[in-house]
């Protein structure tokens, strides 16, 4: 088909000064290809590096935008006229809305990311988007470790890490961002060094603080995406609400024993964490990993899923975990998926939100989140040193260990009877009410629960909680008792 292409005035210098060029082509795309093969200088002003029509360049076929027809494959008829019309981009304000222009990649970076670059889903454009992106990781624990390492390796340009802890021996079974040489170091320093080693081309920002209602909005403001690697409910609700209020996607993951969950909570596009869980569970009902244990590789898998979704969000992928809750069972080796729906009555992202600023999340979750043993005025407690002193003095005391048998295998106190928490009420008759009873577990939480359960069940004897559990015993009395 013979069609005319009219050349806009500013581009005529690249078309030998002609205002109109005739070509023979079947489709609009073919016509443009022919035009730009005979006038190569035109091409870069119409197409980008990926050979895609620049997004401000519009092609009209007889006054109709071909985007509204069949795009480049829009068929042509004899005598058709093709016009090339730019849209004019705005400046300062729009730029703030859509972010800065993408940074360039150095030759070293091109070499490093070559396995990404050769896939059209990433390509140069996608890799530059990764470089332009910023991600804030909450926590550098089991989940944060793979998240940080994969995001750094993938070339995410700026990674912020928030943590306040130090590296302990019991972390190393799963928190692979830290090593044995890092024991006792601040986690943010250890994590920063590891990420720098993985990729020196990226920026790493460390925030040594506990995430709180006071600093969350200020921190989140400076990042595109937040990845939740926390292990407690108050922080999880805090991360969710701060993400909703600041309009950031929240890439969520959680783990317990052999089971993991992941989702992308992004209120602008779907459900938030509160749409799924409007209320936190009663304090103490859901044990932490410190109490219940976790398979070391599980956070590796769930954290890698979080890193995967974070990278997809940056690349603009369609099928992200928005409105989808992914459940993973490592022991059964099964993935399952639930559909989520935005709740119109959600207190933070619903139609009439009642939470419009950050609240006190520890109060909301009914607990002092960072104090492991639940403080209870009616709970009588004894320290490990005092218990040892009384034992040596020959006081008559029975010690009940409410941990699980496999924990008993790891370490135990001298002269104790093992009655796991789940059986303590049923086996109440094994505890002599005439003798003072000290109840202990690993850290003091389960033993407090056992005491409460026994009292409710009508146990009449004196019950005393060992403060800090067997861990405190190891610290204060006998370092020969293994800590785990």
């Amino acid at each position: 088909m013979a069609v005319k292409i009219s050349i806009p005035a500013p581009l005529r210098q690249f078309a030998a000064g002609q205002s109109e060029i005739e070509v023979e082509a079947k489709t609009a795309g073919e016509a443009l290809d022919l035009l730009t093969s005979s006038h190569a200088g035109l091409r870069r002003h119409l197409f980008n590096d990926q050979n895609v029509l620049r997004n401000f360049v519009n092609i009209y076929l007889n006054d109709e935008d071909i985007r509204h027809a069949s795009g480049p494959s829009t068929p042509l008829k004899d005598g058709d006229t093709i016009m090339i019309v730019p849209a004019i981009a705005g400046g300062a304000v729009t730029e703030a809305e859509i972010g800065q222009a993408l940074p360039e990649l150095s030759n070293e970076e091109i070499m490093r990311y070559s396995r990404h670059l050769i896939m059209p889903e990433v390509g140069m454009q996608g890799q530059r988007r990764l470089k332009a992106a910023s991600v804030l990781m909450i926590g550098t624990g089991g989940l944060g470790a793979p998240v940080g390492m994969y995001l750094a390796a993938a070339g995410v340009g700026r990674i912020g890490i928030v943590d306040f802890d130090v590296v302990e021996e019991s972390n190393l079974q799963r928190q692979i961002i830290h090593g044995t040489k890092d024991l006792g170091r601040r986690k943010i320093e250890s994590a920063r060094d590891r990420l720098r080693d993985i990729n020196p081309h990226i920026e790493i920002e460390t925030h040594e603080s506990r995430l709180s209602s006071h600093n969350a909005m200020r921190l989140f403001k400076n990042y595109d995406i937040v990845v939740d690697g926390t292990d407690n409910f108050p922080t999880r609700y805090l991360v969710n609400d701060a993400c909703v209020l600041s309009g950031k996607p929240n890439v969520y993951g959680s783990i317990f024993r052999f089971e993991g969950q992941s989702s992308v909570f992004w209120a602008e596009r779907g459900a938030c964490y509160r749409c799924l869980y409007p209320e936190p569970p009663p304090p103490g009902l859901v044990p932490s990993c410190a109490e219940g244990g976790v398979l070391g590789v599980l956070p590796g898998i769930v954290g890698a899923i979080q890193a995967n979704e974070t990278i997809k969000i940056i690349l603009g992928a369609d099928d992200i975990l928005v409105n989808r809750l992914l459940l993973f069972d490592a022991w059964g080796m099964k993935f399952r998926e639930f559909k989520l729906r935005k709740d119109a009555n959600c207190p933070v992202c619903g139609e009439n939100p009642t939470v419009t600023e950050l609240i006190d999340y520890e109060e909301f979750c009914g607990m002092a989140a960072h104090q492991a043993p639940v403080e209870d005025t009616t709970l009588e407690e004894i320290t490990a040193s005092d218990l040892n002193a009384r034992r040596l003095r020959g006081d008559q005391i029975q010690i009940i260990d409410v941990r699980e048998p496999h924990e008993f295998e790891i370490a135990r106190l001298p002269g104790t009877r093992l009655i796991p928490l789940g059986h303590v009420v049923a086996r109440m008759n094994e505890i002599d009410p005439e003798v003072e009873t000290v109840v202990h577990c690993k850290g003091g939480v389960r033993s407090a629960k056992a005491i409460e359960a026994l009292k409710r069940a009508g146990f009449t004897g004196r019950l005393i909680n060992l403060k800090g559990g067997i861990t405190a015993w190891s610290d204060e009395v006998d370092p020969g008792v293994a800590k785990y």
Binding site: P8, P10, L11, V85, A87, I88, A89, V93, Q100
Partner: protein, 144 residues
Amino acid sequence: MITLNQEQLNEIRAHGERDYPFECCGLLIGRFENGGQKTVVEAYPISNAREEEAKRNRFLIQPEELMRGEAFARQHKLDVVGFYHSHPDSPAVPSKYDLEHAWPTYSYIIVSTGSTGSGDLFSWEMEEDRSRFNSEEIRITDSI
């Protein structure tokens, strides 16, 4: 080099000040002269503070509007020789984003606006290899 008269420059500034804190924009209609020179015959305002929607819109001048402007120019045997827009509370310097969305030869006049009025006004022309914007001399005439 682009030639405008004082009245046209005043109109561009006034448009920017009127639309502050939003961006304004418009077409520069005139003639391409020899040697890459341009003379503006009329500054043709397009946007009128399009509020919220405009802020989310990456493009200030839609192709349909440009086509209308070109038709208007053709009626008067003129061409669209460039565009002007304002940078509220920002310098009158093109961004990298501007660079990815421009063509050579056109003049891009940017005026910085603020709460106390307009500031710098510069014209820019894109390098043919798309690598950068070069500052373009503005010649001011009293009348055309």
